[in-house]
Amino acid sequence: MKPRIGIFVCHCGLNIAGVINIKKTVEASKQIEGVVIATDYMYMCSAPGQNLVEEKIKSENLNGVVIANCSPSLHQITFRNAAIRAGLNPYRVEIANIREQCAWPHENDKEKATEKAIKIIKATVKKLIFDMPLDPIEIPVTKKALVIGGGIAGIQAALDIADGGYHVDLIEKTPSIGGKMILLSETFPTLDCPQCIETPKMTGAFQHPNIDIHAYSEVEEVTGYVGNFNVKVRKKSPYVDWETCKGCGDCAEVCPVEVPHEFNMNLNMRNAIYRPFDQAVPSVFTIEKNGTSPCRAACPIHLNAHGYVIASKAERFDRAQEIVRKERDFIFAAAAARVCTHPCEDACSRKVVDDEAISIREVKRYITDWEFSKYGGPEIDLTVEEEKNNIVAIIGAGPAGLSCAFDLRKKGYKVKVYDALPRGGGMLLVGIPKYRLPKDVLQKEVELVEKIGAEIYYNTLVGKDIDFNDILSKNDAVFIAIGAHKSRGMGLEGEDKKGIMHAVELLKDINLDKEVSLGKKVIVVGGGNSAMDAARSAIRLGSDVTVVYRRSQNEMPAIPEEIHAAMEEGVKFMFLTNPVAFLGEEKIKKVKLIKMELKEKDESGRRRPVPVEGSEFEIEVDNVILAIGEKPDIEFIDKSVELTPWGTVKVDEISFQTTNEKVFAGGDVVTGPNTFIDAVGHGKRVAISIDRFLKGEDLYKDRKDEGPFKSTLIGDTLNAYIKPRMKEFVIEKDKRVNNFNEVVQTPSREAVVEEGKRCISCAVCSECKLCVEVCEPKSILHDMVDQIKDMKVGAIIVATGFELMPLEKFPEYGGGKYPDVLDPLQFERLLAASGPTGGEVKRPSDGKVPKRVAFIHCTGSRDPEHGVAYCSRICCMYMAKQALLYKHAVHDGEAFVFYIDVRTNGKGYEEFYARVKEEDKVIYIRGKVSRIFEKDGVVYIRGVDTLTGEALEIPVDMAVLANAMIPSKGVEDLTSKLRISTDEYGWLQEAHLKLRPVETLTAGVFIAGAAQFPKDITDTVSQASGAAGKVLSFLSKEHLTHPPVTAQVDHDLCVGCGMCQKVCVYEAIKVDEKMKKAVVNEVLCEGCGACAATCPSGAVFHRNYKRKQIFEMIDVYTQEI
């Protein structure tokens, strides 16, 4: 084809002609090879200009056109359409950009600019010669739309599209649509309240047959392309069946959890189950669950401490009892309420507030005492699920053995328990003194196991009274839970002398009511809980007791309560001291001790004690009690299961299975001496293992979080109820040291309720389930899970809105420090009738009506140094409105507005501003505030009135800042899913600021509202309707077209290296698994050229941007003129 090219040079008024010599350019153009005509016109994009192009195409029979004008992003499409009208293939039209790339930057050197313009035209002609005539690619279209964001922009867009007859899915991440607008008091300049003007739109959208609202949902994944998007939406679980929820609010009334109300900008509190605001759409309730509270996570049996503390706060001890006793079938709840080492309290996040955990064990004590007084003992469900024929033998009737026995029996297994002691409870029976755990309380809990039908054989020592192999052969599964009752010795000289005894044996004798006599002077060796029990028991037997411990008090393994009680009762302590020899004839007379010092940390994390040479000394004693540890008494096992080198039973750490597959072990026999609650945890987990084993199921599936784990959740610390931790209710010292009566008494109901208020609800919902009881339609489903919905749509509108720069960003203004320095949405809520104060303006610090309020413009906006460079556009107007509404609410109040410029560029805005100044007499001060500070309890504004030049220092009751608007959180994540871009601040990038403001560069994805940039409601609604219009024109087409200027792959050259795939942001080019060659999805390809530039073998090229074309252009550009 012989080129017949026409050149059309545009003056663009003086934009181009003012710099470039048009005449010279046209003349030079005529000389270019292949050019048959070159001409110019004042405004080529105008109708006469376009006509000129069309006419010349026809009259000169042109087969190619170069328009020398502005950027192709502006008018390429204009002239390609003109070519179509004149019968020329549009892809034979090229733009030579001589405005943005020539005239504008070179206005100081007209001659050189003209030379450059000629070069640009020449180069463009060179490219054009090789341009192929192309036809657009046709794409089918799914006639549905997706709108992301349920603010006023999203609602308006959804309504418009739905009214146009197409289906819309509206996604909103919070539980209600309405966005920021619904939170406002009134709107400028008309002073309509959003409750009057937005709620009709909200309900309109809800009731519209073409709109599905998906509240509390987020976009998970977007695949596909224009006209054919596949969207996965995660519907977050509201734990309430929204289909049946009537929105009555009975649930919120009984919910005892209180957390800051984010829809009231945290100015007041809401419940864990809540509706964002009264006008919410859908008008339903949602439960906020954040995960597992640290207390519950740390508990080896995951007893819901958060739940029963919160139920106690609500004085619902019946519910608390159910949580403590029934929810986890916890037979030892009353024992735990007395002796548990409470890992829950160690994990408690309340410590962040005042360094003191919730007194969870004492709360539980009240609950179990309440239970005992109401039911006469433990109240638990004894129903056996379904009788089974398998028999399980359990060796040891301690916390691990009995907990396992109860759980297995409940599942229907036949359970036989063997124990050497005369009664049940194991270490709880013989190791814990009566003054800590009365034996009648324990007995009642042990009896539960017999009540549910397990057979317990006491005074039966396995290995002596019954053969272990016999047990193995006669039962389907065996659980070894014999604990660690055998005392360790010190291996010192004279350790076998009379008068030296072991703590567990002493405690056992006392607990089993045997005759025990101690001398006057007793020393106890050790620093654990057994040492404390022995020491306090010895005090009660009338001895003078000294505890000898080789480390310092900080390293003592005993729980602090025990140490303090021992000290209070008169136990003396010798820290950093250790025995080296026991002296005397047959009976002990003296102990030789040595001083110790602490060195670096050992593997237990504690500092290693080392004897101080030559520091030995002797003291006289009558008795020595050794409390330095115990180990399992395991001889009966013989070699049927493998042991560890430490003399404990070797088990799998998840299933607790031993090396013999039908034998399981747990508790102290596995861990060595450990806490009671860990043993219960093992017992319960072994019950699960044995159940699965006997059913032939997988022992390991989904058991990761069965044991204690760490949760880092921290509840709301700012509004925590201020009250010191509840103290234990203990009997006076003098009344307890001479007997074994229980020391810690039932706490008072008031103290327990107050303690419940201290809880900061780390997981938000405590699962106390009081809401379930009152929900008449039975809508509350605490076990609900998130759902993923698949949607197929043709077009997407993103309307994710904005948020405010946080107050903490403005330390000079006391943001986040002074409670009466507010962000503008907080002040809106104070003005709004639907807000926390019912529309009365009261300041947060003390609830007083503020008489002087300062409104401060441009906080963060127009401040590239501390915030953002842009103007947030709406602050001038809403501050004027807020000042007006404040003056209307507080007639004798004074309002000061500090401004730099007042921008009132909208219909009725300037008049509104004038009214605020004239009628409402709001004082406008021109000058930015330099700082806000407190002096003698008064907040001062330090500023300047630049118009008088006077510096000002004004005391105020409240200051409202105009925090800069910033893009919503999570928008970045969303844009990468949608493959659309953002500007430097994170606002959504429009295709063209002026001419394509609601489109993105990704076909089929549109934007609306403040997600693009701050804008007022008027502009937001206009833009939303604009985006909806774009979508409607999209969806109403039979099929869509896509520009054919796409990447192509020469498969002879492609080696399948995949470099192109890595650089393609549109995911349009991929290496085919089978062919091992790159393949282009032309519909997704936006023709950016990244792949072609990256391809190392030169296999990828773009239609009409072939290598040859580009090199020809470079040749022109690099030629000397």
């Binding site: 000079e812 441009c858 127009r862 140094e865 000058g927 330099s930 630049t946 030049g949 510096a951």
Partner: protein, 169 residues
């Protein structure tokens, strides 16, 4: 003071002069919000020092008024304005830029000339006397003496000598 400032009294090149000094280049960013003036501790004592106004006078071209004035010398360089300025006008350093222009144009505050003379003559800001050396002796420090020769060399190399010898810098 005159009723009106006449155009012929304004030097539109003044701002360019200031901007060509180090850290003077951001003066045109100023949008006159007044944060600097409201932050300024000097202004609390003497109202004549008003950074916002000085900046605007420079932008308007009131060269003679600014350079002849006392106030350009009053900045205490506390940097409060510098930190709070939303537009990065770098006011504290800008004041130095204005002072530099003043010195180049032959306007210098006598206090600064006096200081320069001290350094020129003594080689240091404070004259070394017996008292100082006695004290140093007690503290076992080496004795010192006025050594103006090196400083004088620096003065003449940098052109500062014209300042102390009565000429323009």
């Amino acid at each position: 003071m005159k009723e009106v400032v006449e155009m012929k009294d304004l030097d539109s090149n003044f701002k360019n002069q200031v901007m060509s000094e180090p850290n003077g280049q951001n003066i045109t960013k100023c949008f006159s919000c007044g944060t600097c003036t409201a932050s300024c501790p000097v202004r609390e004592i003497d109202e004549i020092f008003n950074p916002r106004k000085i900046i605007h006078m420079v932008l308007l071209g009131m060269k003679e008024t600014v350079l002849k004035s006392e106030f350009v010398w009053l900045c205490s360089t506390c940097y409060a304005c510098f930190e709070r300025c939303p537009q990065d006008v770098r006011i504290t350093e800008l004041m130095n830029a204005i002072k530099n222009v003043a010195v180049k144009e032959g306007f210098i505050h006598p206090a600064f000339t006096a200081q320069a003379e001290l350094i020129y003559n003594n080689g240091r800001l404070y004259d070394v006397d017996d008292f100082i050396n006695k004290k140093r002796n007690k503290a076992e420090l080496p004795q010192i003496e006025n050594k103006p020769a090196a400083i004088k060399k620096i003065f003449s190399k940098t052109g500062l000598n014209s300042l102390v010898e009565g000429g323009k810098a």
